[in-house]
């Protein structure tokens, strides 16, 4: 007898297509949520980053006329002086109440002390409990330190001393993070968004295959048809794959559009997301559709109702994050043995693809092969589970 897989497949694709609610979540909310959130997060990070460098520092100063030299230095260093009238006590209150973010108080005796070589005191009033102003305080302090160092050196030189005599130790910062390295965490999230939207795309159908059919009472008559149960489950899993793959395509498309509007380079990131990378990511993720569909179908077959299945599958959706989290925490470098681990292998390869790093051909082959194999095993398991009497609930 001819296989009925095709009949089941066509019916499931049509049936799910007509369910507007599941279609919306499969092809709209799932795939667009990730790219949207991603773009917002990057824009936010970008905003913060840019403002820290370029925006002039607003610095309320009381007694600016006491130190014209210092004020001139600050103004040259991208600081906007806001003149205020305050003594220490009133400045304290103004900063505490949030009228000013911080305040610099230059006492009347500043110039006098300065000119005779005595330590001249300025007071920087700030609220260290207020995180929002911490950045400005840090900048102001750095500028004041720089001014102090410069004056100190000038004085030493004036006395014929080499300024380095008072610098027994010099600390040099060596930052090994490369522009692309910094983007890894954000890009790692992208892999998860892709996986998440794929799972969302197949969620409803996977539930419908067992719990849904049972709940509406259509499972029992279905099982009395002269069709092997393995044909039923394979047709349904394939239909689930179609929705997952469609969802994958929509997600990648949405990412490639949204990333064009985000100037990643300004963040020191480079994300290679041209058409050839998108196509390679698409191909790499294909076997994951079967794995995800079969996994969700297996889990759903143990549940008693649609609601219960949804609850369990929400947990299943988190499972693929674990390897990605592991990779992020341990800063895992791609390795052939990692390519055996679904989700982790896709994550590592996608990250390298976007960093435009060379990838040995064996990596994607092993990743796709192992994912496909696990998918086939889970499909076989789903078919076995479908043959149990308990499937009727």
């Amino acid at each position: 007898m001819k296989s009925r897989i095709g009949t089941v497949f066509r019916k499931e694709v049509l049936d799910n297509f007509r369910d507007r609610r599941s279609l919306m979540s499969a092809l709209f909310f799932g795939p667009l949520f990730g790219p949207f959130l991603f773009a917002i997060m990057i824009s936010f990070a970008l905003d913060k980053h840019v403002s820290e460098v370029d925006e002039p520092l607003q610095l309320p100063v009381s007694g600016a006329e006491n130190a014209p030299n210092l004020i001139a230095f600050l103004e040259r260093s991208n600081t906007e002086i806001v003149k205020i009238e305050a003594d220490l006590d009133s400045a304290r209150i103004k900063v505490r109440d949030g009228e000013h973010d911080l305040a610099l108080i230059i006492p009347a005796g500043f110039g006098e002390n300065f000119s005779v070589g005595q330590p001249a005191v300025v007071r920087l009033v700030s609220d260290s409990a207020n995180n929002n102003t911490a950045k400005d305080v840090r900048r102001a302090r750095a500028l004041l330190d720089a001014y102090q160092r410069r004056m100190g050196m000038l004085r030493l030189q004036a006395r014929g001393l080499n300024p380095t005599t008072v610098m027994p130790v010099i600390v040099e910062d060596v930052d090994v993070s490369t522009p692309t390295g910094r983007s890894v965490i954000l890009l790692g999230m992208m892999t998860y968004f892709v996986i998440f939207s794929m799972l969302m795309g197949g969620l409803y159908l996977a539930i419908d295959t067992t719990a849904g059919e049972r709940e509406r009472g259509s499972l029992e008559p279905l099982l009395t048809l002269p069709v092997p149960r393995s044909d039923l489950i394979i047709g349904k899993i394939l239909a689930t794959c179609v929705y997952m793959i469609t969802s994958l395509a929509v997600t990648l498309l949405a990412f490639s559009v949204s990333l064009q509007f985000v100037p990643l380079e300004e963040l020191g990131m480079t994300a290679n997301f041209g058409p050839s990378v998108v196509i390679r990511i698409f191909l790499l993720m294909l076997p994951f559709a079967l794995l995800g569909a079969a996994l969700m179908t297996c889990v759903a077959s143990f549940t008693k109702s649609y609601k219960e299945a949804q609850t369990y599958l929400t947990v299943v959706m988190l499972v693929p994050t674990l390897p990605i989290l592991f990779a992020a925490i341990r800063t895992v470098k791609p390795d052939l043995s990692y390519m055996m681990v679904p989700s982790l292998s896709q994550h590592l390869i996608i990250t390298d693809l976007m960093k435009a790093e060379p990838i040995p051909l064996a990596y994607p082959l092993v990743s796709m092969g192992s994912t496909l194999l696990l998918g086939l095993l889970l499909t076989a398991l789903a078919a076995r589970l479908y043959k149990r009497e308990g499937i009727l609930g």
Binding site: M1, K2, R4, T7, V8, K11, L14, D15, N16, R18, D19, E213, R216, G217, S218, L219, E220, P221, L223, T224, L225, P226, V227, P228, E389, L392
Partner: protein
């Protein structure tokens, strides 16, 4: 022709069936009568192959329901308890899907579906999605679906449950018409009056066993009672199922 021999089935520690033996002949309506929980549904589920008996054998037109279940399934049409339709498919698509699953070719299937739609008076809602159907409409479509491959045997599990008076009458007439085409009809019910009105043969089931079987007259004689109602009570030992 349906035959069940010494069927038993347990679910965990619950012995649902202990010893079920009966046969249902072609061209006759056989009623499986018994109170709720007597084992009617379990018996039918074994006959339509979704459960396996622990012991005993059953066959449909000579096809064993365990060892030759695909052939047995080809010979039966089934209307399970509370048969569900696919809500996003129309009545016609629901019926057509089952026809395709039986391997009926497209042109023959189109004719057959039209025939069933006329026969079961589905025309008015044939091309509407099943989502908002009444119980009566759903039952009609489910019955059409069960008949799409012209089965020689029809199994119905409490088909009149949830139907109003008119729908029940229509279903009874339909069952009688089908009987006259010579097919074997086996249906379960816990309502004695319904079985009495419709069935040529009655199998009374209680506590997982067949307690009486035969034509209504034979059952009355068997139990020594003058009415079927008294015979039923005598056989089951309770008044459950009398309305």
């Amino acid at each position: 022709m349906i035959e069940a021999g010494a069927l038993s089935k347990s679910f965990g520690s619950v012995r649902a069936l202990k010893d079920i033996t009966f046969s249902a002949a072609d061209g006759r309506i056989t009623g499986l009568l018994g109170p709720n929980g007597a084992g009617k549904s379990t018996t039918l589920r074994i006959l339509y192959t979704v459960l396996r008996p622990d012991t005993g054998r059953a066959s449909v037109d000579g096809h064993d329901v365990v060892s030759d279940s695909l052939a047995a399934r080809r010979s039966i049409g089934v209307l399970p308890h509370g048969a569900g339709l696919y809500p996003h498919l129309t009545a016609r698509e629901n019926i057509t899907y089952y026809g395709r699953m039986h391997g009926i070719g497209n042109s023959a299937l189109g004719r057959r579906v039209d025939e069933l739609i006329a026969l079961l008076d589905i025309g008015e809602f044939a091309d509407r999605r099943a989502k908002g159907f009444s119980q009566g409409q759903r039952t009609k479509v489910a019955l059409a679906r069960a008949l799409v491959h012209q089965p020689r045997n029809l199994l119905l599990d409490e088909p009149t449950n949830g139907l109003d008076v008119m729908a029940t009458r229509a279903l009874r007439e339909m069952i009688l018409r089908l009987r006259d085409t010579g097919i074997c009809i086996l249906f379960s019910s816990h309502v004695m009056q319904e079985v009495a009105a419709l069935c040529d043969d009655i199998v009374i089931v209680g506590h997982g066993r067949v307690v009486a079987a035969g034509k209504p007259d034979a059952i009355r004689r068997q139990t020594g009672k003058s009415t079927l109602e008294e015979a039923f009570v005598a056989a089951i030992g309770t008044e459950e199922g009398l309305e």
